[in-house]
Amino acid sequence: MSKTPIRLTVNGLPHEVAVEPRRTLADALRDDCGLTGTHLGCEHGVCGACTVLLDGEAVRACLHFAVQADSRAIRTVEGLAAPDGTLNPLQRAFWENHGLQCGFCTPGFLMLATWMLEQPGPVDEARLRHVLSSNLCRCTGYQNILTAVRAAAQELGKWAETAPA
């Protein structure tokens, strides 16, 4: 099958790659750009392990074709920590609150939460649970993922206390 040259900007760096039209964005990131932090848990849009930010929007990289991302800006889990490896506040909150066990779903949750915390306005408990219910985790029962994102939101001044339901 013939390949189309495209240009992806991933975490600020340009990647010129040639892909078959049917290649997903997830496969292009993993196999053509060598960024294997974006995981594939289902390849049919349910689990969210492949969540990345495409021009600032959280998307399922398994449901996008790489060619759709041509000339657009993508952010992946590899772009979260400082170049020296220092974790950002969200990553640190996952670490301190045991928000991961096997770690397979973690990149997807980190990118989903990154998106949520970058939206205007504060996050409250209902919004937190609603947004994070987009992705699946099989290990944690979600409790410590919610705790971690709540802690990060508080640290970043993005948390709105609501009366407990």
Partner: protein, 768 residues
Amino acid sequence: MNWTGRRLPRTEDPALLRGEGAFTADLAAGARAVRFLRSPFAAGRILSITAPDLPPGALLVTGADLEGVGTIRPELFRFNYRAIAQPVLPRERVHFVGQPVAAVVAATPEEAEDIAEAILLEIEPEEPVVTIDDALRPGAPILHAEAPGNTVVDGTIRHPDCQAAFARADRIVEFSLRSGRQNATPMEARAGLAAYDRATGRIRLTASCQMPHMLRTGIATLLGMAEADLQVVAPDVGGGFGQKMALFPEYPLLVWLARRHRGSFCWIEDRNENLIASAHSREQRHHLRAAFAADGTLLGLEADILANTGAFSCYPTTCGVEPLMALAEYPGPYRLPTYAARARALATHTCPAAPYRGVSRPVVTFGLERLMDRAAAALGIDPVELRRRNLVTEFPHVTPTGLTLDQASYVEALDRAAEAADIPGFRARQAAARRDGRYLGLGLAVFNERTGYGTPAFAARGMGIVPGYEVVDIAMTPAGDVEVRIGASPHGQGLRTTLAQLAADRLGLDPSRIRVIHGDTDRTPYGWGSFASRGAVIAGGATQLAADKLATRLRRAAARLLQAEPEAVTLRDGAAWAGEASIPLTEIARRVHQRSEQLSDLDGFNLAETAQYDPGGTFSNACHVAEVEVDAETGHVRVLRFLVVEDAGRLLNPLIADGQVHGGVAQGIANALLEEVLYAADGNPLTGSLADYLPPSAAEIPLIEIIHMETESPETLTGAKGLGEGGAIGAPAAIANAISDALAPFGVDIAELPATPARIRALIRNAR
């Protein structure tokens, strides 16, 4: 400084959080892609497999190519087990939809898929056996000639005085229950990468597995190759929950390819394959009959246990693992004077069964705890009180199946849970809600969890391969760091952290100086893995023993260097101390290795020790409480509150322990309400995507409250009891009891899980 017992964040995490973890698929660059062609029929005869012209470099492998390759045929020497064999690739017949029939190799996964689609697989379908009833029907097709009546295991335990107990009973409670089939659904599906090393002729199999050493032995035996020529690596593994214990046919095929074609071959399972063709669990039916005295005393129990274990027997545990665990553990935490039970594993044309977190205990607890609630209603005794009257209170206690229950807190945990649940307050809210036409319910589940059991427990089952012990090699390097090599293979349980905490305390060293090495048969001693809630107990015990031996060596060396008695030397803060005098451990390590003329007469030239640990086992215990609201119109269940009183002995790292409970409970809630593998009557799976098979999201899982009790086990070295499975064991029963309580006005009894909205609506309709 006491490191053990602290909520220490895990050393595993930073790499995973940066997206720098190495899961099998992340390591596949450069390997050729393997795609399995899978049977579209549940039963049938293979007539032909024809490939189109293959592009250069592509390969098609069928059963006919595997001359000399053995079959997967685990053994069990008891309970009328019939050894049945699974071919790596079949030559004559297919036995379930999804069974690998051929393998296609191409440069990329896309190309391999294209070729696989063009292959003509001619199969003459035969009549399938799909359900438990199908398998038992007289005249049903027989899957394996070795197993007449499709019965692969048929075990009984029968106490002679059981009938007399029923004759004496004031009340007999009798009912049947059913558990739907489940898939453990790790978020990373299976994956394997076999790479041939031309320089050494060795193969390295990197696989998303739970038991790398067992996999290595199994594959080497199947292929008739030297085990020394095979290295198995479990890199980062994205969850397993039991599913990844088994030796699946895909892995030996990958190694076969790598040997035959002297290259690298990679198979990354997709979600559909995982859902239909990896391993399923817990499709069971139980019939229970229990005798009670008028005061609520349980006098006797009869159980008939049937498990649909699919087309083949999983290696190494065999398909006996589900029915036989139910057979042995049905008495649970209760005093049961007499017991009679039969447990069978039935072969059907469905995906083979393998252990899944808790194995049969979620179903057993569902049965036992429904029994307690039903008996309480029948006898007019409060359900908490009925349990209290029957729970074991004196330890050690020997169950009617010969298991010894060690010190535990069955009644105390129940009382703590009942108090925390505020049952009187709940009853008031429940009554008020009912007046508004809303149905609230509260359900309890008390259970014990057999954990950390070693060789004797597995040997008692008559297994051909007896897992149990763990071996730990520990060594201090010349620079003073410590390497702990373990045969176990964690995949999310945080053992790298927990074991470093244990060793740190024994060596007086900061855990950051300790590296726990696992998941690589070249770098670790032979051992079993992480399953059956055993990591903290068995690998933990072996680590503690090994660290103690190393500490003794360090103290002896320090005594020489400090001119003190070894008994007077203590290890702390990275140094050995005798009174005010001290010497850094780094200095001792350097001298042992590099100035051996000073010390080698003591203990030789290194600081390496080995320890083995093989405990008899212990029982942790818990009480789960669920509060639900059932919408009587839609049948939808919302879990409002979930409380766990957990007693897993001494907690080595409470942060990690809580995480295990949360994850287990979430799986248990899903098993109770959402997840079920379904087959059509012709044996075609209906739940082939995550839109049909429904793991829960954060929207379905409530806040989980945990209260810990710490009854230290006298039976384990660390005082810890295992707890990896408990969450999944208690939750289904607690939810089933809560729904039954909520729908008591309709006379609804939950006897089948998952309690989906459709099932609940039907129950209400029929009750009306």
